[in-house]
């Protein structure tokens, strides 16, 4: 993983996890099929810790974030190729990697509309500790009406802006630890990291 010099606590683009996006007419069906009823019990910009049933042993844990009625983002260990699993369902969804993390294994083999291995359009992930995020993120970021960072509860996300740069702030658990994950365009990664790093120092 990349750890900027600015702070030991800011993790940028961790290599041990990957973000997958899937969406389409059957998006909700796929989410429920893969992750169980919790997938339809969460509302947009809510998330839940999930277990991938296709991999019972060893158990693969991840985090499922709902973005719209039929749009989901899943954070999984980088070793898992979700596109292959979703492809087997023959569902009306597209699936692609949305983080800059390289997918290990057989990426791109799935039946999907946009499962492409190139990095264009992928997002950077910046992760800060939960306690620090609770204190500083609401001061650094602004949201539009409907969303609030004062506070942002656990397992919630909010579209926001930091220094006028678009981010998605997601407070959730990864491997049992709470954190703030900030997703942003790759081009804005350094600027956001610098802002966060200045506060972390």
């Amino acid at each position: 993983m990349t750890v900027l010099n600015l702070s030991q606590h800011l993790i940028v683009n961790p290599q041990d996890r990957v973000l997958w996006d899937f969406a389409g007419i059957d998006g909700q069906w796929v989410a429920r099929h893969l992750f169980g009823d919790i997938a339809v019990q969460i509302a947009p910009f809510q998330s839940a810790s999930v277990v991938l049933p296709e991999r019972p042993s060893p158990e693969v844990c991840g985090s499922l974030l709902r973005l719209c009625e039929a749009n989901y983002r899943v954070e999984l260990p980088a070793a898992i190729d979700l596109s292959r699993i979703v492809g087997m369902l023959k569902a009306k969804v597209w699936i692609k990697v949305s983080s800059l993390t390289p997918v290990k294994g057989s990426a791109g083999s799935a039946r999907s509309l946009e499962a492409q291995p190139d990095a264009k359009g992928r997002m950077a992930m910046l992760i800060v500790p939960d306690e620090w995020g609770c204190t500083h993120i609401p001061r650094l970021a602004t949201t539009k009406p409907l969303y609030s960072l004062h506070p942002l509860p656990l397992e919630r996300a909010a579209p926001a802006r930091i220094d006028d740069k678009a981010v998605l702030i997601w407070r959730h658990q990864w491997n049992g630890k709470s954190c703030f994950q900030i997703q942003t365009a790759e081009k804005d990664k350094e600027a956001i990291a610098t802002i966060l790093g200045d506060r972390l120092d």
Binding site: Q28, W29, Q41, A43, F45, Q46, L146, S148, L152
Partner: protein, 643 residues
């Protein structure tokens, strides 16, 4: 409710009476003075005002935070509006940006009320609007428009703006893309933009709040060659209010021909709700929550289906029906036979018009000797019931008491367990505890000491209760219920989740499943028509014929796809181009894990198990098969609500 009648020396303003929301501050005597006798009274402290004579335009400056009130003095008069920000006026209102960011054709007071510039920066925001019909697509009228119509040399708003803006160094344009307030346009199904006479009455206004220091332009449109200004251009008046003022957001509605303008109001529960969400929308002249921050309609829905949820339904209208002929009036006007309702019992049904159409649906509560309460949706119900009473020379009083009874619904499988310890019921209703209160029973009593009418009814398909209290107790009741509900996992519930639940439960919504041209047989509530037990009631003759063969009947559809038919889609027999009905409402049912819809189809295609096709997009591009089933696919026997 504070009611402010704006009397005026001008007869043109006689119809401009405003029923203000309770939160509207009383006007001080200072505010009441105005040099103009043809205007409604000022809303607050005026720092500047301008009269724009007919067929002219002006430019004026406002500071950030100040309010701009654009008043149609005589009615039916359009006023085009421009705004510029920046030292060199380089930012300007951009209609395309505004429509895109808001997702609406014309911003309206509330969440989607801002007008943006080309840099996506808000310039002004709609705070109040008493007309509700404006144009954001067209240019301010141009010289070319009049020239092409055979009127060379006719004044135009764009040319008038060019003159007014020239001193500010703003270059002239052939046509200004403006916000055309009061200009009545609409895009029809073919994409044509139709226009007609403005809907605005004398004194109607739009109140904007400036988000930046602005240079503004306003016109009194000179168009006298078509109906846009009623063929007779008249003045527009601009008032600028102090930035220190605070005006509630509101939309003006007129419920009927003789009704005063009514501004959107908060319910007794809205202050508590506003602490939990900013996502409120106007519904039936109340601000109601759509969903809650950090929650969302799915989570709220599951709280309802699995635990307990609390929702504000104060937008319902309540009418006290009292007197020796109260029962007879309801027997004439209401579809159900309420003769056998005992005190403490209620019945769902509808008010009918002579041709068997549904005027409104609602509940009749029997509250005492010669004392009933009708709870429905329309302010006009009061006048209708009075007319029926007068025609039949009945000794009965009908009074709209909506401002004295605001209500929440506590619904969900744990609602009774949660509510029971808080409730004490009055004597005289035949039961002493909530556990004994059966479906469609009610009693007065107290909830944690708060006087309330407690009714075992709801609009969700779940076990639940509706609690009616005086608005003075609204905040206290909300807090008590939310606090008591914490151990039960209570969630507040917004309209988005409620809509999902009521479609699953096959419950009707006015404007979707029925209007006054729809019979109970078509809407799916034929069972509420007391055809066998009442010899006479309004609409009976028409309904006798409709009962034999309603042109359409209500059914539930389960789609063979996860796509949602959210309303308006055509329904066809398999492979046919001709229609047999249409979808009225639809949703994805989380609990059934299926896309479901309510539809109204020809009776020949209403047999359960019939396979039909729902047409998506243009009705041809994709057809999704759907199976006819009960109107209420979720718990069709209402076992949960009755439990």
């Amino acid at each position: 409710m504070a009611s402010t009648s704006h009397s005026s020396t001008s007869s043109a303003l006689d119809s401009f009476e405003v029923v203000a929301p309770p939160s509207t501050p009383e006007f001080s005597s200072e505010h009441r003075s105005s040099p103009y006798s043809d205007l409604p009274l000022p809303l607050g402290r005026v720092v500047a005002e301008y009269r724009i004579e007919a067929a002219t335009a002006i430019a004026y400056s406002v500071k950030a935070g100040q309010y701009i009130q654009i008043i149609d003095v005589a009615g039916s008069q359009c006023s085009d509006f421009l705004a510029f920000a920046g030292e060199d006026h380089e930012e300007e209102l951009d209609g395309t940006v505004t429509r895109t960011l808001n997702g609406v054709a014309v911003p309206q007071a509330g969440l989607h009320g801002k007008y943006f510039s080309q840099t996506m920066t808000p310039l002004v925001e709609v705070i109040q609007d008493t007309c509700g019909r404006h144009d954001s697509f067209m240019l301010a009228c141009t010289d070319r428009y009049y020239e092409d119509a055979g009127y060379p040399g006719h004044a135009s708003c764009s040319a008038n703006f060019n003159v007014a803006l020239a001193p500010y160094g703003i270059a002239p344009r052939l046509g200004w893309p403006a916000v055309n307030f009061f200009f009545n346009t609409a895009v029809d199904e073919t994409g044509a933009i139709a226009s007609g006479e403005a809907w605005s009455r004398p004194g109607d206004y739009v109140l904007l709040r400036a988000h930046q220091d602005l240079l503004c332009g306003s016109s009194a449109c000179p168009d006298d060659i078509d109906p846009a200004n009623g063929w007779h251009p008249t003045p527009i008046h601009i008032r600028i209010y102090d930035a220190a003022e605070s005006f509630p957001k509101a939309i003006g509605r007129r419920a009927g021909l003789d009704f005063p303008l009514r501004l959107t109001q908060d319910s007794a529960f809205t202050p508590s709700i506003r602490k939990l969400t900013q996502y409120l929308a106007e519904y039936n002249s109340f601000w109601v929550p759509q969903s809650f921050t950090h929650s969302g309609d799915h989570a709220e829905y599951w709280a309802l289906r699995q635990r307990v949820a609390l929702m504000d339904l104060s937008a319902l209208r309540k009418f006290e029906v009292t007197g020796t002929d109260a029962l007879e009036l309801l027997q004439w006007a209401f579809s159900r036979n309420v003769e056998k309702l005992v005190v403490g019992q209620s019945a769902y049904g509808c008010l009918l018009n002579p041709h068997g159409g549904i005027i409104d649906d609602g509940l009749v509560f029997h509250l005492g000797d010669d004392h009933y309460r009708y709870v429905g949706n329309c302010d006009t119900d009061e006048g209708w019931l009075r007319r029926v009473a007068a025609e039949h020379k009945l000794n009965v009083s009908v009074e709209n008491v909506s401002d004295r009874h605001h209500n929440v619904a506590l619904q969900g499988p744990l609602s009774r367990e949660m509510l029971a310890p808080l409730v004490e019921l009055d004597d005289g209703f035949g039961f002493t505890s909530l556990d004994e209160m059966k479906y469609f029973r009610c009693a007065t009593g107290q909830v944690s000491g708060i006087p309330a009418l407690i009714s075992r009814t709801g609009y969700t398909g779940e076990l639940g209760f509706e609690l009616f209290v005086h608005p003075d107790h609204g905040t206290a009741l909300w807090d008590v219920l939310m606090q008591a509900g914490q151990p039960y996992g209570i969630s507040p519930l917004g309209m988005l989740a409620l809509d999902r639940a009521r479609i699953e439960a096959g419950l009707l919504m006015s404007g979707r499943e029925f209007d006054d041209l729809t019979s109970p047989y078509q809407a799916g509530i034929g069972w509420t028509v007391a055809m066998k037990t009442k010899e006479e009631f309004i609409g009976r003759a028409a309904l006798e014929q409709l009962q034999r063969r309603s042109p359409r009947v209500a059914v539930g559809l389960t789609l063979e796809s996860n796509e949602v038919a959210c309303g308006g889609q055509c329904v066809h027999p398999i492979g046919e181009h001709w229609r047999v009905g249409q979808v009225t409402s639809g949703t994805f049912s989380p609990i059934l894990n299926r896309s479901i819809a309510m539809a109204q189809v020809a009776p020949e295609y209403a047999e359960p198990g019939t396979i039909l096709e729902v047409g998506f997009m243009d009705g041809l591009k994709r057809r999704i098969r759907a199976t006819v089933g009960p109107l209420s696919p979720y718990d069709p026997t209402k076992s949960r609500a009755r439990s």
